[in-house]
Symmetry: C2
């Protein structure tokens, strides 16, 4: 077990400098602090060594995600992780994290000060301050839905989003759909980018037309439904794939408000199989992530890192959960000129439906 003296000797600085760096003292440059902390991590230094007989600690760092209640998206992920970590003798802390928290302290420093041996990180966006540090940090971290190139101390776990999008497009094609739109979330998210580009690749793979004007994306669900959904309907899409279930639910409701029946006039497929998605009206067809398995794989990847086996990526299979929000394609009436130039959504007409329209 290295001491402050060993670290000082290795870096050719004084013991006091190392101590200041490790105690977050303000009268030391950021560059030197970073150097000291990195060296301490690499040498296996631990603060408060007198307490090393206690259980060792891991943390689950959470941002942009709830995980406290069963109805929260992150709940089963956290449970899956804990179910393996606790019997293996680890203490596991859940730490909620904001961008401001990340700016206040470096990742390595945070981990060392709290004596965490490794982190399972959920919900980070690409621009999160610690994402930059994770490119070079040597403190083991497993990222859910984020990929860091080549750093052997960091692993990426998630589902195979490419396959997930492909399952949805393939299913819609089998139902007769050819004009399939896509509504997505913020492109500042690695997984949102991945699903967006996967849509284009999958459409091309299936020989279906994909163009940017059949898509829309925004961090704000309201922008997707109010700005992009009418455009997609005007472009005569008969199905829309949404990047997550909350968006799919909003799109579903907005379609109903616009007088489009789901799935009679338009099919909607979500992503994630969030806990609420079986309870929407109609229940959402969606691409499932097995969240319990994601948590277990997160622990497996982290314990592998702690045992010097470095996983670059571990991706689970996606599964299409077929409920009622997607169905066979219906034909559209030829668009009226007024519709193409106006602001109202195009009006789909179902086969076998009277001119006046009847609800199912």
């Amino acid at each position: 077990m290295p001491t402050i003296i060993d670290i000082a000797a290795k870096l050719g600085v004084s013991k006091g400098t190392v101590s200041k760096a490790l105690n977050n003292s303000s009268d030391i440059s950021e560059t030197l602090r970073k150097k000291v902390v990195e060296t301490a991590v690499e040498m296996g230094y631990e603060k408060n060594r007198v307490r090393r007989d206690r259980a060792q600690k891991l943390c689950i760092i959470v941002e942009n995600m709830s995980c406290k209640n069963e109805s929260d998206f992150g709940y089963e992920i956290v449970m899956g992780f804990k179910k393996l970590a606790l019997p293996a003798g680890w203490d596991v802390d859940i730490v909620e994290m904001t961008k401001e928290d990340q700016l206040a302290v470096s990742y390595d420093m945070f981990m060392m000060q709290n004596e965490y041996k490794g982190a399972f990180i959920l919900g980070f966006a690409l621009m999160d301050p610690w994402m930059e540090e994770l490119k070079t940090s040597r403190t083991p971290a497993v990222l859910y839905d984020n990929y860091i190139l080549e750093n052997p101390a960091v692993s990426y776990i998630g589902i195979n989003n490419e396959e997930g999008v492909n399952l949805a497009v393939s299913y819609l094609k089998d139902l007769g759909h050819t004009r399939i739109g896509y509504l997505g979330g913020a492109m500042e998210s690695y997984v949102m980018r991945t699903r967006y580009y996967a849509y284009f690749r999958s459409m091309e793979y299936h020989g279906l037309p994909a163009a940017e004007d059949l898509t829309g994306y925004s961090y704000h669900i309201s922008e997707c439904t109010q700005k992009y959904l009418p455009v997609l309907l005007k472009k005569k899409v008969t199905a829309i794939l949404c990047c997550h279930d909350a968006l799919a639910h909003a799109v579903l409701n907005h379609c109903l408000e616009l007088g489009c029946r789901v799935p009679g006039d338009i099919s909607i497929i979500g992503f994630d199989d969030a806990p609420f998605s079986a309870y929407t009206t109609p229940p959402l067809t969606t691409v499932r992530q097995d969240r319990g398995a994601l948590g277990r794989c997160g622990y497996y990847a982290l314990s592998s890192l702690l045992n010097h086996t470095s996983i670059s990526s571990l991706l689970l299979r996606a599964e299409l959960i077929k409920r009622q929000s997607a169905g066979p394609v219906r034909t559209w009436e030829l668009p009226q000129k007024s519709i193409l130039t106006g602001t109202d959504a195009a009006r789909p007409v179902s086969a076998g439906r009277t001119a006046a329209g009847t609800s199912q």
Copy 2:
């Protein structure tokens, strides 16, 4: 535990038909046999149920790869797998397999007849007969270096070849190389294709020129060295990345025969860190696959499948092992017209070398 009678009832055929199908009898159509075997697998049917108190069995199916001796490429992979499987109570058989063997019996039938619960499959090429069956089989299989789209009963494990190629190109660029060639293996192999295309992407990523005429590939090492190596040298490459260490070793020797010093005149990087690669002259710089970890991850993926958690892909980090076959770039003299049109290799000239040339 379902019986032959259950299977017959489910399929609406006679008990005798099911028995014939499961015993590989010749007087039954291939279509029906396939249907029966698939149904039996899905229902969890086991032959010879009286023996179910014995240890349960897994198999490692091996083709195009040796794994018996420590110097064999597959040895550590098999050991890594067994080190986890045996303590968990599994018997593990090693089964050598040829294309002819695969044509003689279907994968599902082979697994059922031998009472294997799952397979770890090493060394298959894309055109292997069982690769087609693995697209739809429900018998758990983990493939090393092969990816099957979307089948939840099959997982892909390997290293991140994209990162591996990138590590090599990045290192060569740092050494001053800009003209980097690539020599590859048979494109009938998933991993050979992956590495080949990764070379183009990595060169583009680093802003370096990549063109097909800076590359060559063949199943036969001799074709790579005799046909493509002289072309690459004539194109004034200063470094060559090879898709595996056996090829790198052959290229190294052929360079020396042609009077090129390695790494003085040309740098060579291999792939895999095969057991012999530290013993070549000069020792090979190469992209390492941690074979013991691959075996352990293979078992993890297979036991996950057996527990209904389906991994799509599990990729380990690659690691660049820096030995002596790659070094700083040397300048080349301007090519003579005769060299450009002739059949001899271009002659690199090292900085600070006499016209007559001296060996190091």
